[in-house]
Symmetry: C2
Subunit: 338 residues, 2 copies
């Protein structure tokens, strides 16, 4: 079968690979679509070469169809459409034992630490699979993984219907968080500085604000009786985001930290004391977040497809990755693997 | 009656003041003891002259006895021993309406923004009073306010019996947090650099660690299967405290921010993402925290009196405040007002 191998230094190469027969507890999935994530772009740029084993297949935002099942598998059947929750946890560490397998201290992220979905078939543990309704397009299935991230973020923030939410950052994850928050009944404002993303957010029916062109804190206060938003989702991982997040929330408000900050940031701790704020870290997803994401996508009421900015065949994966370079309009690019 | 007036520039002066007859909903309390808080020391040093109205009586950690009640007061009777929850909230702002009157956006802190307890009688709103058992010493009553801070901190942190807690800072509030956490069933470690406070913590039965003499993170990991503490109370308001707090907690652990940081601090936001940490701001107390503090103090099982390092008569208030200057062994100083 065809496999897209990451070769290092911004290069993919299509090569041959052996299909892997599923062992006990495993399932072979024929991959339909696989989305390109920000992490995949980091890999492409050589920033994670210490974690991947070059040459390696990557990719973890996939949909597909079950083509073969190993012994003892009873959660899926041949022919089922599925998505993969790409986490491989140890089950033995104190964090796993406490039930937080998604942040297992020895977690292997499939498609980074082990081979990924950018190949014609992918053999994975059955416990990673979630069934999708047969009538849900497989293209949407490739958005379930990032949508599950958004479901996790909203759940971690304990968002209630009727609350006001500010989403800092209108990239793919920011827009998905906004969609999930809106579906949960929140009044959502998206803050973004990229004009394409601002327009897209507005087209999708969101209120969007450019903090370079106006005072975001003043605006949010004007919309909330001078009190601040109930919840802020920080999805920019930027220094201005870290600064403004503490200024936007009401007393007892919550900040959900979604962006991956590689450097420490100056944080106004006084605000946490004075307003009794909470800051809640959120990483990947749990089983129930995938279930919720499948339910929301299958419901068909969210403008999910709006964030797909391109679809490339597996043979053209190099062009798919290069389509992000210097392109402010690139959002979610899918690779068609079948 | 005698009133201790703060005159600015590290000076108190004992003067005459008129006793105030209680209006409807008010109560006149004969003050027994009033503790000196860190905030009072800031006032003494002139750092809060923009908030106090010189000359002004200050002080907010008091106990006393009801001597006169105004119309409509039904929560206390003449002769009751009481403590004052020194918060005057507006009741009208969105934060009050949401039930968080203790962090009212227009909160007046009694004894700072308005007159205080360092006088022979103090006339206050009945809603600020909590009754104490007649057999609880009034000296202990003066510790109820800081003890309620500790009860609030522990409650905000959702501490569960059996959890491991690290308290950063072994001053009066740190020791009270440690006592309340221990009473709630936690295994407590106190981190402190002042040798007197370290000894006192040990005398009180706590495990105490000097982070200048060993690696605190390594030590906590060695005690927690390499995972980290369940909860950290940051009570130092120091830069080293802000740095180490994120390194001490387990995945999904909580940091309760008690210390009042006047400057933004470099915070390792990556840790919040990676370990799904939570940081929870905690300020003053709510009604139930005072109830809990009275219950704990009345129970008589806590070594509360150990933190009292001196008692001065109201006439000697200047000496009481000066007793903190350059004195590493000063903990909680009480002023006897009757």
């Amino acid at each position: 079968m065809k496999v897209a191998y990451y070769k290092g230094d911004k290069k993919f190469e299509i090569g041959e690979g052996a299909e892997k027969a599923p062992e006990a507890g495993e399932v072979k999935v024929k991959i339909a679509y696989c989305g390109i994530c920000g992490t995949d772009q980091h890999i492409f740029h050589g920033k994670m070469d210490q974690r991947v084993s070059i040459p390696q297949s990557i990719g973890h935002e996939c949909s597909g169809t079950v083509v073969e099942i190993g012994e003892g598998v009873d959660n899926v059947s041949i022919g089922d459409n599925v998505v993969v929750r790409p986490l491989d946890w140890c089950g033995e560490c104190p964090t796993c034992k406490a039930g937080h397998t998604h942040i297992c201290t020895k977690l292997k992220f499939m498609g980074i630490d082990t081979e990924g979905a950018l190949q014609e078939t992918w053999t994975v543990k059955a416990r990673t699979l979630h069934k999708c309704p047969a009538d849900m397009p497989l293209k949407l299935g490739a958005l379930i993984e990032p949508l599950a991230v958004a479901c996790h973020d909203v759940r971690r923030g304990r968002l209630q219907a009727g609350e006001s939410a500010v989403v800092l950052g209108g990239g793919p994850i920011g827009l998905l968080v906004a969609m999930v928050a809106k579906a949960a009944g929140a009044k959502v404002l998206i803050s973004e500085i990229n004009e394409f993303r601002l327009s897209l957010a507005k087209e999708m029916g969101f209120e969007a604000f450019n903090p370079l062109e106006g005072d975001l804190v003043e605006y949010v206060n004007s919309q909330t009786e001078g009190t601040g938003a109930d919840i802020v989702f920080e999805v920019t991982a930027s220094t201005p985001g870290a600064k403004v997040m503490t200024e936007l929330v009401r007393p007892r408000g919550r900040i959900v930290l979604v962006g991956i900050y590689t450097e420490p940031q100056q944080i106004a701790l006084f605000k946490f004391f004075w307003r009794e704020l909470e800051m809640i870290g959120a990483r990947v997803y749990e089983k129930e977040d995938f279930d919720k994401a499948v339910e929301l996508a299958a419901g068909g009421t969210m403008p999910l497809e709006s964030i797909i900015s391109g679809v490339y065949d597996l043979d053209d994966i190099q062009a798919g990755f290069e389509s992000f370079e210097g392109n402010a309009a690139a959002m979610k690019v899918l690779i068609k693997c079948d």
